[in-house]
């Protein structure tokens, strides 16, 4: 009997590893496709030789591969990971299938911060012009998270308090944003709208580096808690009886999610949908065990965004097509298919 259980467990785990392996391969393929495609129609050989021996290529080809394509393709993967992780963590700590990294009004706050910089040229920190917009977005999203955090702390961190405070913050910043758009002139409104759509094309090696650094910092912190997070999914009471400090877990999770999301939002704008759907895809395929659930959610996010990045270049070659529009368009059919093919409820 014992042997049988062990074998069943082994088989189950093997299946999960297989899923993880296949999605990693899929991401690798979309990533390669991402750096191979673009309006410049470079040959595969040209791209590869430029990646490995940049010195032998023409200057403009170097720029196209190293300055435009590589950072964007990598940023798609990293941002996908960021949003997937943030979303998975958020759904767990809030015990709510509708939660996403943007549930707590982070995107609205970031959007307001960015719009403030665009309309008034006001920066929270006295930096160079070029960093106004991302820094404003980052600072405002952190402010909104901290506000929610302090209210949650004060009122014992139940998921209802956090969600409701988040909704209040969301509406507050949404109306402030509307107010700003109202006072802005048409060119500024266009700039704000474009920012809100989300775009990877602004990526530089610096912004990529910062994002990677933050993700690498957060992953071990999350990895430490995988068992506790799994316990949290059994409900607050059961988790408590298993010795998990639920409130502490929730507040810690809140901080990690805000850091991840604020970083992503500041550099690429609000790319919606991924943070909501990647965790669901993960849950349907590998279940609730956070040892697999968290990485798979991160990888699904990366896969969706990387695919969207490839497609965004194909819509109208030569034009910057906002990627935020595509993520949901390509993700939804897949998501609905998964939803329909599941026989039982899985939440």
């Amino acid at each position: 009997m014992n042997v049988k259980t062990k074998e069943a467990y082994k088989k189950m785990t093997g299946r999960k590893y297989l899923f993880l392996l296949s999605i990693s391969v899929a991401i690798f393929l979309t990533f390669i496709l991402d750096i191979m495609t673009g309006p410049a129609s470079l040959s595969v050989r040209e791209v590869i030789s430029t990646i490995f021996f940049p010195a032998y290529s023409e200057r403009s080809v170097q720029v196209i591969v190293w300055t435009f394509r590589l950072p964007v393709a990598l940023m798609a993967v990293v941002t996908g990971i960021t949003l997937g992780l943030a979303g998975a963590n958020m759904q767990t700590i809030l015990d709510n299938p509708l939660a996403s990294p943007y549930t707590l009004g982070i995107s609205a706050a970031a959007g307001f911060g960015a719009a403030l910089a665009i309309v008034f040229g006001v920066g929270v920190l006295p930096f160079a012009d070029t960093l106004f917009v991302p820094i404003n977005a980052f600072v405002f999203s952190l402010i909104s998270c901290m506000a929610i955090y302090s209210i949650a702390r004060f009122k014992r961190a139940t998921s209802e308090t956090i969600v409701l405070t988040g909704i209040a913050v969301l509406f507050l910043f949404d109306s402030l944003l509307a107010l700003l758009e109202y006072t802005a002139n048409p060119e500024q409104v266009q700039a704000i709208v474009f920012w809100l759509f989300g775009s990877l094309t602004k990526t530089t090696w610096t912004t990529l580096g910062i994002t990677v650094g933050i993700v690498l910092m957060v992953i071990p912190l999350l990895a430490m808690d995988v068992w506790k997070l799994t316990a949290l999914r059994l409900g607050d009471d059961k988790a408590k009886s298993l010795g998990v400090n639920v409130e502490k877990m929730r507040l810690k999770g809140l901080i990690l999610v805000s850091i991840l999301t604020s970083t992503a939002v500041a550099f690429v704008g609000t790319i919606g949908f991924i943070g909501l759907v990647a965790p669901h895809i993960a849950r349907m395929l590998v279940g609730e065990d956070h040892r697999y659930f968290l990485p798979f959610s991160a990888l699904s996010g990366a896969f969706i965004l990387s695919t969207a990045s490839v497609l965004s270049k194909a819509v109208v070659p030569g034009i910057v097509f906002p990627i935020g529009i595509l993520t949901s368009l390509i993700g939804i059919p897949f998501f609905v298919w998964l939803l329909l093919s599941k026989k039982r409820g899985y939440w």
């Binding site: 300055t67 070029t130 060119e187 474009f194 910057v320």
Partner: protein
Amino acid sequence: MRNKLTTFSILAITLIVFLTFLVSGCITNGSTDDQAKTITVTDMEERSVTLKYPVERFVLMDSTCTAEFSSVYGEGFDSKIVGWDNYLRENSGDMYEKYVEKFPAMAEIPDVGSLDDNTFNAEKVIALNPDVVIMPNWEFMWNGEATKEALARMDQAGIPVVFLDFYMEPLENSTKSIQLLGKITGKEQRAQDIVDYYEEKVNSVYSRLEKIQGKKPTVYVECAYNGPETYGISYGDVAWGDIVKKAGGDNIAEPVLLNKSKALSAEYLVNQSPDIIILTGRNWSTPGSLRMGYTFTSNVTKSTMTPFINRPGWDTINAVEKRKVYGIYHGYCSDVFNFVALETFAKWFYPEEFKDVDPVDTLKEYHRKFMPIDYSGTLVYSYY
């Protein structure tokens, strides 16, 4: 019984008062029609409009047409504007400053709201008792519903609306719009002088271009209202794109944008490596945007343009290597100054053939001849 009677008499009195107002309203309406001289014109939307002649009280919607209005009207134009929207103040603050500096009373012109944010206040317009409301016809493209509604309200109030066009088909309709303004203000001679000047300049450019053989230079135009990190919109075969084409340039945005205006991707631009780059500037508040206009020195324009030139990959573009990066005042796309834009572009595209042409001189001359404000600041700019 008593109560019923009172109610009845109140009703009766109300009715009588109401009827009196109605009748007197009809009478006053009828009498003004008889007194005034009228004129019927066809506006740029092919609408036939009958106006009091000459028109004395103007409401300028899209107040940026103050430039055209004041050049056609000449002396005394400032007292004829009884209301306007905030476009001039918001979008061409530098030009607004110049006007207000010279005609301080213009600061007091009532703001009637604008169509683009649905703040147009029909009641306020009616209260100002204008003879005409002037509107640009691009409002139909950008704010269609609001424009139709405003038009209906003005119709109900019996206030005629005249549409002008300096944007949709800039080089065809600018002169017609100027002539139309001349007709309704009774300043037809001034309008004709402007049109003659405009046509002389435009035709001189066209006749020189006709003689030029060989490959057209490839051109990239960007509205530099975002900072350098985000590419601003470029133009297909509309607005600036139209002027590039007419000035003998090969617009790299046209094949992908057709007749739309959208941002091109950096990779496309670097790959196309155009011969000439033109950035359009204004006094936008967006951090990092290109600053140009009546109140900006060329140093400001230069320092705000440098980060654009330092964009990744731009050092490989022909235009940067051959030092052909330029700036032009964004407002010139949508007003009578588009003839200067045409002349400037032609000179930038074919410097040899247009060696003797100086757009800044043209601008100065036009301001001296027709504009109430003086030329100043940086309106066309060559980075190198």
